[in-house]
Symmetry: C2
Subunit: 807 residues, 2 copies
Amino acid sequence: MTAVSDEQVREGVDEDTLRRLAAPAPEEVEQLDAWWRAANYLTIGQIYLQGNPLLREPLAPKHIKPRLLGHWGTSPGLSLIYAHVSRLIRHTGQQAIYLAGPGHGGPALVAAGYLEGTYSGIYPHVSQDEAGMSRLFRQFSSPGGIPSHVSVTTPGSIHEGGELGYVLVHAFGAVMDNPDLLAVAVVGDGEAETGPLEGSWKGVSFLNPERDGAVLPILHLNGAKIAGPTVLARKDPAEVRRLLGGHGYDVLEVEGSDLPGMHLRFAAVLADAWARIRAIQHRARTGAWDGTRPRWPLIVLRSPKGWTGPEQVDGVQVAGTWRAHQVPLSGVRDNPEHLAILESWLRSYRPEELFDADGAPTEPVRSLAPRGDLRMSASPHADGGRLTRELALPDFRDYAVDVPRPARTRAESTRRLGELLRDVYRDNPDTFRLFCPDETNSNRLGAVFEESDRAFAERVTGDDVAISRNGRVMEVLSEHNCHGWLEGYTLTGRHGMFATYEAFAMVSASQTVQHGKWLQEAGRLPWRAKVPSLNVLLTSTAWRNDHNGFSHQGPGLIQVVLTQRGDVARVYLPPDANCLLSVADHCLRSRSYINLIVIDKQPQLQWLGIDQAIEHCARGAGIWDWAGTDDGTGDPDIVLACAGDVVTMETVAAARILRERLPGLKVRVVNVVDLMTLMRPKDHPHGMNGTLFTELFTDTVDVVFAFHGYPGAIHQLVHGRPDADRFRVRGFIEEGTTTTPFDMTVRNRASRYHLVMDAINNARRLPRGASDLMAWCERKLAEHQAYVVEHLEDMPEVRDWSLDGKD
Amino acid sequence: MTAVSDEQVREGVDEDTLRRLAAPAPEEVEQLDAWWRAANYLTIGQIYLQGNPLLREPLAPKHIKPRLLGHWGTSPGLSLIYAHVSRLIRHTGQQAIYLAGPGHGGPALVAAGYLEGTYSGIYPHVSQDEAGMSRLFRQFSSPGGIPSHVSVTTPGSIHEGGELGYVLVHAFGAVMDNPDLLAVAVVGDGEAETGPLEGSWKGVSFLNPERDGAVLPILHLNGAKIAGPTVLARKDPAEVRRLLGGHGYDVLEVEGSDLPGMHLRFAAVLADAWARIRAIQHRARTGAWDGTRPRWPLIVLRSPKGWTGPEQVDGVQVAGTWRAHQVPLSGVRDNPEHLAILESWLRSYRPEELFDADGAPTEPVRSLAPRGDLRMSASPHADGGRLTRELALPDFRDYAVDVPRPARTRAESTRRLGELLRDVYRDNPDTFRLFCPDETNSNRLGAVFEESDRAFAERVTGDDVAISRNGRVMEVLSEHNCHGWLEGYTLTGRHGMFATYEAFAMVSASQTVQHGKWLQEAGRLPWRAKVPSLNVLLTSTAWRNDHNGFSHQGPGLIQVVLTQRGDVARVYLPPDANCLLSVADHCLRSRSYINLIVIDKQPQLQWLGIDQAIEHCARGAGIWDWAGTDDGTGDPDIVLACAGDVVTMETVAAARILRERLPGLKVRVVNVVDLMTLMRPKDHPHGMNGTLFTELFTDTVDVVFAFHGYPGAIHQLVHGRPDADRFRVRGFIEEGTTTTPFDMTVRNRASRYHLVMDAINNARRLPRGASDLMAWCERKLAEHQAYVVEHLEDMPEVRDWSLDGKD
């Protein structure tokens, strides 16, 4: 590790600036403290007050909200840090964003934006005067108002902090390829107990000081969560230092509650941390870096929970304990003693010094904030759509598989996508990254390594391939890190893709859900610019358990994304390489969606030439004339529909069996790429109108639908369509083991033979020979069973699972 | 922290035993090595061979499997550890189970069970002879055979290791209240990169050496994952020591590949670790413990990936690199050189010394294993159903809320459950635990603290409440830990419940999925005894966002559990306290299910007396005569159905509005507690038969269904029921913010007024006055909107959201 020596700390930093920064003059301490008091005052006001916001009259029960909600405990610490980072920015011009891990300290961050003027700029009715302050207070945690944690509505935020654990992944994602950005990430000690957070300290093992910005984690140990102590707060401080040192950080510490001592000490430590960051970056950017992983600084801040709040209430200690977590004083309307405590608590901040006659922040308060876009609440990095550049995308047609006729060519579909992504890397050297547990090669996307190594800041050896500190392909065996980094990367305006095995997609499902909710809410705020979409590619699907067991496979993420609102959720199931290219191109160009793309990586039959694929994907679903025997009069006897690569293969095979063995039956084959087209237009913008739906599926003929996911998903999607009960869905029904893909379709009752039998059972009319064909299918299935039992060791892939061989 | 001194290490341990253990005699090293060679041989055989299992003839292409699958890289390390722990058990009688974090080292664990004779005992056709060995090899990674990782079929396993990250949570869960058990948990360095694993080291902060057993983590740093190095393997070893020391462990290290050196060194370190564990336990159990958190030992084992395998293949280094991860030699059938390498590799283990003329393990191999249930592959702890004792359950009727008439009493329903759980703690002092992030009190389950503190091994202060090292209520702000501990606890035969906010249920959704799959597969294995169910209680539901925003709320876990197989998945939505008690009693008595129970914690109207509740829950769904105006002739004009507490309230309110304002309309109210009753019997064992379904829902009358979860779930559940399209579902449609529960129902279009309008729009016939009532409903909704806008700060809960007040 590169430890930064004392002399090196000075490198790249103006000595005078650093000295001033580290030792604030008394008037600066006044300024810091004034801003901090103002932020704390506004925080308490949001929790408690519905009137008399400036305490111009004695506090009375009618000024108190009828229901007290909010989290006080973490807020003073969050505001102290905010004040000091603001001062740092003013002294240095550092671009910074602020991520509050303890997101339920929302009122503190709202207060910060309000004091900086950003809030009133965006929400003019919340003006910097008494009336506006009253609205600020009343809107908090109220119906129609704003939520109690740092939300999409909070200017300067890219991190909500509702579900704990992701503050560092968002911070690291934000600074990748963002050399001038500092992400200040406050980690709460509650949050620090979560798995995702513990796993995210290792972001430094993937950061390059030359081209990436820096994350400054501030571990805020205030000791308690809702109802008890936290693990890290109760460990021996030496053990905490060991832990964080072991994660690779230089640990700096500040502890206490004395004032102005804490201001002085925190200013000194923050200056030290910043100087260390600048020194690391300076050395890396001036060629003085030896290439070893820097020891980035980290601050441990120990301050009491609910600091500056009531020490004791009803004879019980509150400040510094879990009792300060939310609302330290309850029943204020009816309890005169509590009301008096609240009033003196509020007055202890001396609001008359902080707000002028109109209610606007006074000069000492206002002057702390940086100017313009340097205010953290106004940073364009936290409204990344403002910085988003169009991705330079090569023509995806150039990567097409040549498919002169359907079902003749085999290809690993994702390999073509890998070639496209390689050139996206080439043409966008600082605005695109691929994130993947450690499966880029396994997912057939390895072509990207022709343009970029994997990023790795730890030691590299001669046996390593395509790994270096200059790499920009992100591989870490943590879906939480991959997903979260991509979120941070896109929310700050850059593009990317998360590729993972379908089996592991549920690990980060709650992140997918939350990012979707973020995008949904952001879409309702005119001031938030659209950001690049979150593209998720799932390969190694549940249907290809070639050497994994049943333990974790499943198409669950489709189910999850389907529940999101139609303005955000997109699910694509391209059946082949050319469709994948078309879909991927569309997704990479799109904004503010969750794009879920599901396709396997193994060699698979190709169906459509690139032009056909483009047309097919543009429609989202279409009739495959060549596969069926429908004569085009719109009068089939049965519709065989499919969505997903493996089941498409089975559907086409079933149609061929029917064509050959029951030629009198009119079979229509419909393939669905864009799953959302099945919904009604009122439920999803991609939903087909009724006419189109009827053109594909008729109004009355039964549909045998072979689906990649759980069958119930189709039932819910076609609900409300004409006679929706006629859809007979085959899909993944939780059957699996290490076996061939064909055997997987048999186990899940979605094989070609099952589909043929379904077709016969549900066709509008049946030509002679149907019962013979039923018997034949049963025989084929019995033969398969016998074959499996007999040839335990002989994966019968080629024999059974193709169209170009014999059945 | 309690550091164990050298003298203390000797405490509680027989000196001679320890000395022998630490320094194996040459013949013991021979024995260890023979067993290890045999395990490695069998591992390679599983990956490569379909014939000639004992190499009785020269290896030929026909002996090689046509498709080579499996993971060699991790296996020799896993087997080395297994051999040494087996020896430890033989010397000490220690009860131990083995958890392989790198679960894809399946063949190594299968080989161990085979060598110990357990495998042939369970699967007699895989006998300990040449024919059985051949079957052992051929079944591996073959259709109809066994998967490539440690699966449910592997004797001795409670941990699959398919999705990485959970080996320590399972291990810690297994040893809780299991004082005599040692869980040896091998953590792969790939797995160590995941968030859940990083977050699970802190298990020691919750372990009590007096009443709990011990976990011995062995971090196996073999350096690489699929395609590259791991973070921990490439860090400075000093930094790794700091990290693990910071997590609270005493770090012992073994490194190398020399033989017999590694045997000698590993034996010494393992003996040391075991002695430290015994000393900690001895001191705790003899009153000599000072109560501070022990520093439990941990072993870091550095050995080459693919150790003892081919060093170089085709001129490229394989052993010790990521290339050894899966199959180090490919194309063996067609490549004579590779075939020759494989043969000499196999022969390097000298199989003729390891297996006798029949193919059975020879005495030197067999003699390493402990006897009977002490064999780790035969441990009853790993087949926990064998050890499961019935939970002593008080009569749940004793906790009932008195409900003389529906909709008059309010109660926090979960508080009654808390009282029941308190007495479950009292009556089952070592076989029941509650697991909860840090919300036990918040979830109104705090009565349990009358019987047990929260478990906490770190420092406790005077301000702490109900926290001590003797506590058995498990609170850690990590859903991954809570869920995983409960899995480990139940798989080893004990009972428990995981209670969490609905908002955070998706964090551990992939664990719920995997545990469900485990139970599904276990149900097909006659030798695995049923284990206590995994009970998940979700409170603070999406409908009660009182002070959280929209960021993460949602009923997603219902959707997830619905996709599991019917033999495992159960979803209950009790509408009130008495139904909750009945459901909870049922779930706590059940075996091998995933029981998902969803109910809010806030004061809510109570509907049913305890006897009615019992009857209602036994049926799973029923008509609420008192709520509707159906005259019992089975001929309603509309059915109002509901599942979930908040929507039940709205449904009853809607029915009352209809009764009062449209008395001519025959309205039937149906409440569903057991969601699975909606499915057809062929899809779920709880599914109502057609007659019952028709009795509740008729065959033709439209059903307005108010559902707690996403509406699509009901559509998929009623698919296949008569005219399923007539179900009009209202549910959670991803609308929310900090607001009142009533406003939540309005935003999601599921309020009483929406339900009334739906009823009017879909009723079979309409009495006069319907259009007036439509207009009235619209007016009421407009009034609500106006009220919300006007009274931003005034949570209008009591005003609008009740039945006992005025509308």
